[in-house]
């Protein structure tokens, strides 16, 4: 609204023209219908504005949420990206940016020496894996990382350099620009296969949370 000026300025001695009046009013009406921006608010007023009961709850943010307390979700030991159980959120948006956070505990059996080389994790938006959210290098090579001195047994066996295995917490996130419409976001996993094993060693998650925070920007 910072650029809304009356187009017609009344001049002393002239008759009020109704069309000019109407045009002046219309300019301000149009600006209040989607044109208000940061220039219309005095610095420091936003906080007090948000405190008012009359302001809409989603004036700045909306969020969708999936809580997974005590829940065990399985992901398959298959080729390519696989969903993590039923962890998923579908939502309708007017478009803008979304911050997606997925946090959970991962279980990839660490007892399977040389059989399971680890896995990558990422967020998938509308069926497309988002590289910015990738946990792991993305390298599908299954050369193992050495455990160091044989006399010192490693506490952790990460085995594969680009992947991770064992029991460990995982948090991945990303900010994505989305168009208006219906969208689905979910975490996905991709196992790095050894040369001898192609199935049968599914992973699971325990506990966790999927958060979708819609930013009006």
């Amino acid at each position: 609204m910072s650029w809304a000026w009356p187009a017609h300025k009344p001049v002393a001695g002239l008759l009020l023209d109704n069309e000019e009046w109407n045009d002046n009013v219309t300019r301000f009406v149009q600006e209040t219908d989607g044109g208000l921006n940061e220039h219309n608010f005095v610095s420091g007023t936003v906080a007090s504005l948000l405190a008012l009961d009359k302001t809409e709850d989603d004036l700045a943010l909306r969020f969708w949420h999936q809580r997974l307390s005590g829940s065990s979700q399985e992901f398959k030991y298959i080729t390519g990206w696989t969903p993590i159980g039923s962890v998923s959120r579908t939502f309708d948006s007017d478009g803008g940016q979304v911050l997606v956070i997925w946090s959970a505990n991962i279980h990839i059996d660490p007892y399977l020496d040389d059989k399971v080389a680890g896995a990558h994790f990422a967020l998938e938006l509308d069926g497309v894996v988002q590289p910015s959210s990738l946990a792991g290098s993305g390298d599908m090579g299954n050369e193992f990382v050495g455990d160091g001195d044989a006399s010192v047994l490693a506490a952790f066996r990460w085995k594969a350099g680009p992947g991770r295995r064992g029991y460990f917490p995982m948090t991945i996130q990303g900010i994505f620009d989305i168009p208006p419409g219906r969208h689905t976001v979910r975490p996905v996993a991709r196992f790095i296969h050894s040369s001898t094993v192609t199935s049968g060693y599914n992973g699971t998650t325990f506990n966790g949370e999927l958060i979708v925070l819609h930013l009006w920007s």
């Binding site: 109704n18 009046w21 109407n22 009013v25 219309t26 301000f28 009406v29 209040t32 219908d33 989607g34 044109g35 208000l36 921006n37 940061e38 608010f41 610095s43 936003v46 906080a47 007090s48 948000l50 405190a51 009961d53 809409e56 709850d57 989603d58 004036l59 700045a60 943010l61 969020f63 969708w64 949420h65 809580r67 307390s69 005590g70 939502f91 911050l99 956070i101 997925w102 505990n105 660490p110 001195d149 010192v152 047994l153 490693a154 506490a155 952790f156 064992g166 029991y167 460990f168 917490p169 948090t171 996130q173 506990n207 966790g208 949370e209 958060i211 925070l213 930013l215 009006w216 920007s217």
Partner: protein, 268 residues
Amino acid sequence: MAWEPDFYDDGDAADAGGLNARLNDLRVWVNDLTRAGLRRGTFNRFHAAQVLKASVNPLSKAYSGNVDMVYNTTTFNPSMTFAAAGANGGSDTAGVFVGDRSVVGHPSCPGYLGGKCELTFDGAGYRLGMTNGDRVAAILLMFNVQTLFINEGAPAPAPPPGQVLRVFFCLQFKSNAAADWRTIDRTERYYGHDAHAISRAAATEKLDFDTSIGCLLVPQDMTDEGFANTNFVTGVRAMVSLVDHGTDAVLTLRRFNLSAWPLHAKEM
């Protein structure tokens, strides 16, 4: 829907009454603007340094603590033994590791947190839910801690398959409705070793491993604990424990950070 003013048509009297009525309509319209009147990004950029600050209730703010700490010589065992998933409470004193779980931190940690990974909200805290007076829909929690070393210590009893030494973390919240801290069950995390014990004399395994937890504390969490939605959330903290460890296990942590953002938002 945009306001449709009563325009002047040809022949209308441009008298004081008509003019005042139209100006009054404009006043009513401007005093009840809707979200549709805002250009996207109005509250997310120029009036806030960070996106989430734009949605923060004026009575609240972003809370964060980043402390550089070292547990170099702290022995976690035998004083702390994880007993049950979802257990509430725990040791409240940094550096005193007893019972099921203990607050992350150490008395020697620098910084304003007093050595503990614990945030206390201003005033009475926040009532969760947009209709409960504080206009806070949820509190976004982000936690991470760096593990430097883990030493199993004296050879532990051979654990059965599926049970190995695990390092455990979780988040808890405090309400004025109860004396004890309540665990947010879904934030319980742990990382586990392979079924190998390392001797005390051997070199300690250097991990440089980061544990991170993301969580949205919502009104349902209060309900699950039996609290009314008019009760306040007064603080949050991070807890640590050990599971199935040997008699002299030593866990060395380093930096941690806990952030909390009360959000003015709508849960869909």
